[in-house]
């Protein structure tokens, strides 16, 4: 029930009301052609927003579009790109499954004459995709770490949750945190766990940490899901009081947690912004045959959501004002 409500809220946040069931062949009457949007897993509100914003923007600009999901499997990603080629897509908006593993599929699409715009994650090779539009993870991590340190102070024992190691963002964010925090010798990291961006794993890992490490007073997490899992575990054990938890992503659930006073802050990734921007750039490329922004790698700065500005969070991953 709650989930349903949230999903509806997400949908209304998307600029245009998108009809999820529309099919490209049905919509091929629209002049612009077909844009294939490939995201990771729409079961996650972050990627759901990413896909829906891109699709809505494409339809706004006169294209037909579908959102499909590779769920982190490079083979599925490859098959989806094949389908896009078969459907004569005019552009592909892709959230790559794997920094190394997705290079091949991007090349395949480019070789077939379809411009590819990468969103959210990068690939480890430049010059193939027309644009790589990602959050400025380093800036976001530094932003989060500074906010976190201000709340925690100079003396603390803390736990870090690390995302999926196959994803560059996990390392980028962790490095960003540690660059800031290592300047305070009183901050001692008592545990670091890989929880693969996952809430359940965050929950389980936190339970283990509480067994092994009785004393800690702050948690910094590579994303919101892992942080929320850790919060749930600590709440269950009655250990949440006095523990500062910082997240990353700015998901609706995290925002709720901030409102409830369980999470101190989260770093908002401008997914709605760069997802829309990718489609606009694709439109420009289709119409003019050249890139709108000459730089391939474009970083979009992250914003901080704290109890002070949480009221400005108007729609999923959107901070207005």
């Amino acid at each position: 029930m709650i989930k349903l409500t949230r999903r509806q809220a997400l949908l209304t946040g998307v600029a245009t009301a998108a009809t999820t069931a529309s099919m490209p062949f049905a919509a091929s009457a629209q002049d612009g052609g077909f844009i294939s949007v490939i995201v990771n897993d729409p079961a996650n509100p972050y990627w759901f927003t990413e896909g829906e914003v891109a699709k809505a923007t494409a339809e706004e600009l006169g294209y037909s579009a579908t959102v499909s999901a590779h769920r982190g499997d490079t083979n599925v990603e490859s098959n989806l790109v094949d389908a896009a080629i078969t459907n004569n897509a005019v552009a592909i908006i892709l959230d790559p499954a794997n920094a190394d593993g997705s290079v091949g599929v991007v090349r395949k699409a480019t070789d077939a004459g379809i411009p590819v715009f990468l969103v959210n994650a990068e690939i480890n090779e430049s010059g193939i995709a027309i644009g790589q539009l990602v959050s400025n993870n380093a800036q976001g991590a530094a932003l989060g770490a500074i906010a976190w340190q201000e709340i925690v102070g100079e003396e603390a024992k803390f736990v870090e949750f690390y995302g999926n190691p196959a994803d560059n963002n996990a390392a980028t964010r962790s490095n960003g945190y540690n660059t800031v925090l290592s300047q305070y010798p009183g901050l001692e990291k008592v545990a670091e766990e890989v929880a693969n961006w996952d809430r359940t794993q965050g929950y389980n890992k936190m339970q283990s940490i509480m067994q092994a490490t009785p004393e800690f007073d702050a948690v910094i997490s590579g994303n919101d899901e892992m942080a929320l899992g850790a919060i749930a575990a600590m709440k269950e054990a009655g250990r949440l009081d006095g523990v500062t938890v910082g997240g990353f992503d700015g998901s609706p659930d995290a925002v709720e947690a901030i409102k409830a006073g369980e999470m101190a802050y989260t770093v908002l990734q401008p997914v709605a912004v760069f997802s829309r921007e990718a489609v606009i750039q694709a439109d420009h490329y289709i119409k003019n045959g050249s890139a709108m922004v000459s730089e391939e790698k474009q970083l979009f700065d992250c914003l901080l959501i704290t109890p002070d500005n949480v009221g400005n969070y108007t729609a999923a991953f959107t901070l207005s004002g």
Binding site: S22, N75, N79, N88, D100
Partner: protein, 353 residues
């Protein structure tokens, strides 16, 4: 004596006297259901999308079928034996990573040199690794009597874990090799075409042909059908039941390793998470192809058709833009329908006395 016998032989057995006509048509559709399902899928999607029934799309779908087809051909051998191999998805991932590892060069600490094995050696060693995992499975099952489900579930975890350990969770990207090291050509497997058909498809055709010959024309094939149908009877008839069992798991592991090579070549990268849950797709393809999970019944031809049904269906759903969730529902429904038809076919024909 001879006359009498031939007379007896000519007399139709009471239980065999079945009405002809209508029954035979139903029987034909039941027997060839995977084939008819495939025709129906192609017809429906060709109608829904102008891009579906094109040569290039068929080649793409064939290429996608290569991976699952290779796994399914190995799987059908195991299922004919009355077993199951849950480790093939993980072995696929491990094989890709192992090939990637070899392509990066193997450093020999004691000799202080880095060996760059040529591509043919990488292929042989990787297939050998698949055979080794299969051998361990086979020995656990045949000699130590570990149930196949449990033994291969164990190797599912172990193989995946080893793949993650070898790469520390990362992906090997540089599989091209370099001319001065003499190890180029890995991408040929996945990217090149022979007579317009992708190499992966040729590999599937070759492996499937060999497996088909193995099943229908060799003593081993007969042993496999017999020990899958009734291991005790096969044993008492002099069939080396344990050797057959170990061999099928080795063959399944080798097929998975070949699939891993083709996939990492197609994607030009080898990630430790490749092939996650593919064992289930392979089992589904085998079942849709008409094999019985109880063993003893099934063919390579049916398995290939089953693979095409699953791949052509999911490709069609993607091309027509059906949502991911519906794709999952459709695939599940096809599998359940196939198993139900299997029960009708084997339950209806088998009689108990």
């Amino acid at each position: 004596m001879t006359d009498e016998t031939s007379k007896m032989t000519d007399t139709p057995n009471a239980s065999q006297a079945k009405p002809k006509g209508a029954f035979d048509i139903g029987h034909l559709i039941l027997e060839g259901r995977a084939f008819f399902a495939l025709i129906a899928i192609i017809a429906v999607f060709s109608f829904l999308s102008p891009n579906y029934a094109t040569v290039s799309n068929f080649l793409i779908m064939m290429n996608q079928s290569a991976i699952f087809g290779l796994l399914a051909v190995g799987m059908v051998l195991v299922i004919l034996n009355g077993g199951i191999d849950l480790s093939v998805g993980s072995v696929l991932g491990l094989a890709g990573v192992f090939a990637g590892f070899l392509m990066q060069g193997v450093e020999l600490q004691w000799a202080g040199v880095i060996l760059y094995p040529p591509v043919w050696a990488v292929v042989v060693l990787t297939i050998g690794l698949g055979a080794f995992v299969g051998y361990v499975n086979g020995v656990l099952i045949a000699i130590f009597k570990v149930p196949a489900f449990v033994a291969t579930l164990g190797s599912l975890y172990v193989a995946r874990g080893v793949a993650l350990l070898m790469t520390n969770g990362l992906t090997f990207n540089n599989l091209d090799g370099s001319p001065e090291l003499g190890n180029t050509g890995f991408n040929w497997l996945g990217f090149n075409r022979l007579a317009g058909v992708p190499i992966g498809v040729w590999i599937l055709i070759t492996v499937a042909t060999l497996a088909g010959l193995l099943l229908t024309r060799t003593a081993f094939g007969r042993w496999l059908y017999a020990s899958g149908g009734n291991a005790r009877a096969a044993d008492l008839s002099g069939v080396p039941v344990k050797r057959v069992q170990i061999t099928v798991y080795m063959l399944s592991g080798m097929c998975a390793a070949i699939a891993g090579l083709v996939l990492s070549s197609q994607l030009t990268s080898a990630g430790p998470n490749a092939g996650f849950t593919y064992e289930l797709t392979a089992i589904a393809a085998v079942v849709v192809g008409g094999a019985s999970l109880m063993g003893g019944r099934g063919t390579v031809r049916g398995t290939l058709l089953g693979t095409f049904v699953i791949v052509f269906l999911s490709a069609g759903l993607v091309i027509t833009g059906v949502s991911f969730y519906w794709q999952t529902v459709f695939t599940g429904a096809v599998i359940v329908l196939a198993v139900m038809l299997n029960s009708i076919q084997y339950g209806g024909l088998g009689k108990r006395s």
